[in-house]
Amino acid sequence: MAVCAAIIGKDNSPKYFTCINPDEELGFQYKVLSSLDVVEEKLNNGTKSGSDSRELYLGLLYSLERHKIYGYVTNTKIKFIIVIDSTNTSLRDNEVRSMFRKLHSIYADNVCNPFYIPDEPINSKSFDKSVKNIMSGA
């Protein structure tokens, strides 16, 4: 389902990055990083307009010819970005939302891992495996 997932830290530095096809990784990194501006914009507008935008899930950030980019920001200002193939029209908003929820939940588990130093890039194998599972829609 998803072709790429990324976790970006508080200071906008990448913490974790993965995509289905390793050859396209550079292109995806470019797309993900450029979407951070949209995330920033949505967060700043959120503080002004109030209630509805207080949800952690930010929805569709923008769509390109071949991909759609979705965003999610935790209370601790960690950004999750998921890129989805545009040809995959069957995917509903709710399913993307639940993908983010799962991603957040395994991220929280990973932070509680005593061997993980907060704010460092994540290179745990089991984390990697669970992210791949979520991306494939399992």
Binding site: G46, R54, E55, L56, T74, N75, A108, C112, P118
Partner: protein
């Protein structure tokens, strides 16, 4: 989290830190290790506790969360009082602070109280730090088992 186990492990951590300090023979008791343990606990636990929460509106909203949901998740009760001067100083009061309720009320063990509040100061500081609020947290015990936590937000 089981209450009893939590209290036991906390008092063992306190003993461990205090014992390892005796060897260095400092004049004043050094509780910074204890505070740091609390800091990392707070930093990690907040990621889990705020998972289902909507985004916080402002600083006061965050403090209210600390007083209610956060405190009941850790100590199974809410804070009894929250005061602020709206300029970055918050005073959170717990009239029956869990780690002090096992000691005799009054002034008998007052000089030992800092040992039992240092961890919690760290927990508060750690969780606020992860939420983007950098602050100093100190505790004040005048009459057991009541405890006041002073939070001073650092703005720069």
């Amino acid at each position: 989290m089981d209450d009893t186990l939590f209290e036991f492990i906390h008092s063992e951590i306190v003993n461990y830190v205090v014992d390892s300090n005796i060897r260095t023979k400092d004049e004043e008791e050094d509780l910074s290790n204890l505070e740091y343990i609390g800091f990392s606990v707070g930093y990690k636990i907040i990621e889990r506790l705020t998972r289902e929460m909507p985004r916080f509106k402002d600083e006061l909203d965050t403090m209210k969360f600390i007083c209610t949901d956060f405190w009941s998740a850790i100590y199974k009760k809410q804070m009894d009082n929250l005061r602020t001067n709206h300029q970055g100083v918050y005073v959170l009061q717990d009239n029956e602070f869990k780690f002090l309720t096992r000691m005799s009320n009054g002034k008998q063990y007052l000089d030992l109280a800092p040992r039992y509040v240092a961890f919690t100061c760290g927990v508060i500081r750690g969780s606020l730090a992860n939420l983007g609020i950098h602050c100093l947290v100190t505790a004040e015990v005048q009459n057991m088992p009541a405890c006041k936590f002073h939070i001073q937000v650092q703005r720069n």
